[in-house]
């Protein structure tokens, strides 16, 4: 290693150094690509393996739907590949679409991303309007996945009508009314009432418990009740002056300054740990959140959680996904059939029963299993009724290309206000700087 003693002078050393530097920086740029090649090909017996890539909790495994599909079509086996966090899933999907490699036969797409996918990637997905009946869905759902040429690139899975999940035992301990009707009544005036309830809770709450998990969750719930959120109908980003964003932001800042929240970014380890330890009293609860809570909180809190109507009178939607079929797949036909089956009323109802994710296919609402559904984990809350009422009143939201990222960026800054005590003005500037970069 005594490189100076071997002679050759400065020239060679400098050259060696430069080469090292060049190689090193080249490596930097070529790194971080992983390839999940999947075996889609039909084997000699005509058997097909279909792959489904999704994120979070779609509930198909929990409802046993893939096994059931295999029973109905013995030559088809479905394999699911789930990414826990959608923010990790989506960039990877874009990369795979760009290179047309590593894609699964069916890909899940979150509602915050659907506009960007429809605008920029529609040509890479099969048109599902020929196989599914678009009018079966709630009026606004399939519109979101319709491209300018009329092709529909995604079949709606669920929607996220909002409710309020709360711990009735903690409410009781803090001297608050704990049955779901009284809770709904206490917050009927809107999210301001919810914060007032939080202050009452905080005054007498058991030690180590917090009124809400994160202010960003409440922010999302507030924004979700408006038709106009981050973009206007012409596709212009208006988040800086959007009344919905302002209202949500101010409420979040208030919650943070009054220390009503535990300040945990949702879906992080710390967040799941808090649910497991039972330190959180309320969670703004789109239908799919119920499954997250019951999975993470575990049996110890079964029956102690309950579900009430969300604060306020205007209905909100948060989240909801689509299933899309990339054209480059080897089994487009089989994958399209699978998507049609998975998003049919009976299957959406089965998923709803299994994890509480609410159907977007109207046909499912008339099924007894949805209409009369209760969730044992949540003290037998009549979720079918709560969510169906809410779902009817959800406004048709204007979507924008970067909705998902804008939402995430603002959520991060709300977390900073809660956790690090960042002043609202500074946090807002950081958020807008960051979002300008996103829209770029």
């Amino acid at each position: 290693m005594r490189i100076t003693r071997t002679g050759g002078g400065h020239g060679r050393r400098a050259a060696a150094l430069t080469t090292t530097v060049l190689t090193a920086s080249a490596l930097l740029l070529t790194g971080c690509s992983s390839d999940d090649s999947s075996s889609d090909a039909k084997d000699s017996n005509g058997n097909i393996t279909l792959t489904v890539a999704d994120f979070g909790q779609f509930g198909y495994k929990e409802a046993g739907l893939f096994a059931q599909y295999h029973k109905l079509h013995p030559n088809i086996t479905v394999k699911e590949n789930t990414t826990a966090n959608e923010q990790d899933y989506y960039p990877k999907l874009l990369q795979q679409l760009n290179t047309s490699s590593g894609l699964s036969d069916v890909q899940g797409i979150e509602v915050g991303r659907i506009k960007e996918v429809v605008d920029t990637q529609a040509a890479k997905f099969a048109d599902l309007s020929k196989t599914i009946n678009v009018s079966d869905w709630v009026s606004w759902k399939e519109k979101q996945a319709t491209a300018s040429d009329g092709s529909v690139i995604g079949a709606g899975t669920d929607i996220g009508p909002m409710s309020l999940c709360y711990r009735s035992d903690l409410f009781k301990a803090a001297g608050l009314p704990s049955d779901r009707d009284s809770v709904a009544k206490a917050v009927a005036g809107g999210w301001e009432d919810y914060l007032k309830l939080g202050e009452k809770f905080k005054a007498k709450a058991p030690k180590g418990t917090y009124f809400m998990d994160s202010a960003s969750a409440m922010y999302n719930a507030v924004v979700g009740s408006s038709a106009e959120q981050y973009y206007d109908a012409s596709g212009k980003a208006i988040y800086k002056n959007s009344p919905a964003v302002q209202q949500g932001w101010n409420l979040a800042a208030e919650a943070a300054s009054k220390k009503l929240t535990e300040g945990l970014p949702q879906f992080t380890d710390a967040w799941t740990a808090a649910l497991r330890k039972g330190t959180v009293a309320t969670v703004a609860c789109p239908a799919w959140m119920a499954g997250q809570i019951s999975t993470n909180a575990g049996d110890a809190y079964k029956g102690k959680w309950d579900i009430a109507r969300a604060p306020g009178t205007s209905a909100a939607n948060w989240g909801g996904s689509f299933l899309a079929v990339p054209k480059s797949g080897k089994n487009v036909k089989a994958a399209t059939d699978l998507v049609k089956w998975l998003t049919s009323p009976a299957q959406q109802a089965a998923v709803f029963k299994a994890i509480g994710v609410f159907p977007s296919n109207k046909g499912a609402y008339d099924l007894a299993s949805v209409k009369n559904a209760t969730l044992p984990y949540f003290n037998n809350a009549p979720i079918g009724q709560i969510y169906a009422d809410e779902a009817k009143a959800i406004p048709e939201a204007v979507l924008g290309a970067k909705d998902g990222t804008i939402k995430d960026t603002i959520s991060t800054q709300i977390n900073n206000m809660e956790q690090r005590g960042t002043k609202p003005a500074k946090a807002w500037k950081a958020a807008t700087d960051s979002i300008d970069k996103v829209i770029g």
Binding site: H10, R13, A24, D88, D269, T405, N415, A430
Partner: protein
């Protein structure tokens, strides 16, 4: 290369009656030999340069091309010439400068203790030890661990909630640090991972250099009555100077590329933005976030080139420092 041929480099055959006939092929042969002599080294090293061209130079130039264009992750096939706009964009971005600062701070607080510890350990290993091969292997084990594994294990150690370190610290009453969230604590956490992984590697480099130091120097020193510590300072360190310079260069390049450790410390979205307030965002993370999370490849490529320029600057400073040191030593 063939070395046994006596004709190589030999003068042309002696003149004679048959010379006119045999001259033609022998000139050819000489030319061939000369060609072999000159060209074959290039043929031998060609594979490296071909591979370097394909996987090093081409991506780099292509990155330069992207840095001058507007290229989006959502539509890779479309690009639009923007000139130096992307560079202007990142230079005006406060997050870029945060990343530069973080990269240097983390680089310093991980490289300095790391090299000092490596020097000490190498000195210890240089003594006559029982089972010395065993110790040398042990010391290299962390280096053999993958970044991802190491970072994930340390992420558990540094976790705010139920982390190993907090559990230990809790017995002295200070177990509430949210390591990944703090301005400094997060940087220390990352440098701890780096130090753990690379100390052994540098130790072995130092050890190799130490073993090349002639033993008579030490003998002479001990006859003169020098203590172990004096021997270390007056004999070992000066002999190791070029090696130390080399490890500094390597470590600097390494810390410039710091990526896996900060990405995985908190993981998820926080990892990809280097913490909620970018408190431990390095340049690589900034690049990754700009290109792969936000999908703007132009500015991301500009960051890559900015990193190259920074590295060249550092290399230049190293070169100058090295030259000055050698002059002062002489």
């Amino acid at each position: 290369m063939a070395t046994t041929t006596p004709t190589r480099g030999a003068p042309t055959p002696p003149p004679g009656g048959v010379g006119a006939v045999s001259k033609e092929p022998s000139v050819w042969r000489t030319r061939l030999w000369r060609l072999d002599d000159k060209a074959s080294p290039y043929a031998y090293i060609a594979p490296f340069f071909l591979i370097f061209g394909a996987f090093g130079l081409y991506p780099m130039l292509y990155t330069g091309w992207i840095a001058m264009h507007r290229v989006e992750m959502t539509s890779l096939s479309q690009s639009e010439w923007v000139g130096w706009d992307n560079f202007a964009k990142i230079l005006q971005d406060s997050e870029f400068w945060t990343a530069v600062t973080n990269t240097f701070v983390i680089g310093v607080i991980s490289t300095v203790p790391q090299l000092l510890m490596a020097l000490g350990l190498a000195h210890l290993l240089n003594y006559k030890l029982r089972a010395s091969t065993f110790w040398r292997t042990v010391i290299l084990t962390p280096y053999a661990t993958s970044v991802a594994t190491a970072a994930l294990v340390f992420a558990l150690v540094f976790r705010a909630d139920g982390g190993l370190l907090n559990w230990v610290l809790h017995f002295v009453g200070i177990g509430n640090t949210d390591w990944g969230n703090g301005e400094w604590s997060s940087k220390f956490a990352i440098s701890a991972i780096v130090i753990w992984r690379w100390t052994g590697y540098n130790t072995l480099i130092y050890l190799a250099a130490m073993q090349a130091v002639p033993t008579d120097l030490y003998e002479a020193a001990s006859i003169d009555g020098a203590t172990r510590w004096q021997q270390f300072r007056k004999v070992t360190i000066p002999s190791l100077r070029p090696t130390i310079l080399f490890t500094i260069v390597i470590s600097t390049i390494g810390s410039m590329q710091l990526f896996g450790e900060p990405l995985l410390l908190q993981g998820g979205t926080l990892g990809s933005t280097g913490g909620s307030e970018h408190q431990y965002e390095t340049l690589s993370i900034y690049l990754f976030n700009y290109g792969w999370k936000l999908g703007h490849l132009g500015p991301a490529a500009a960051v890559a080139w900015a990193m190259l320029v920074l590295l060249l600057l550092i290399a230049l400073i190293n070169l100058i420092v090295g030259r000055v040191l050698r002059k002062s030593a002489a």
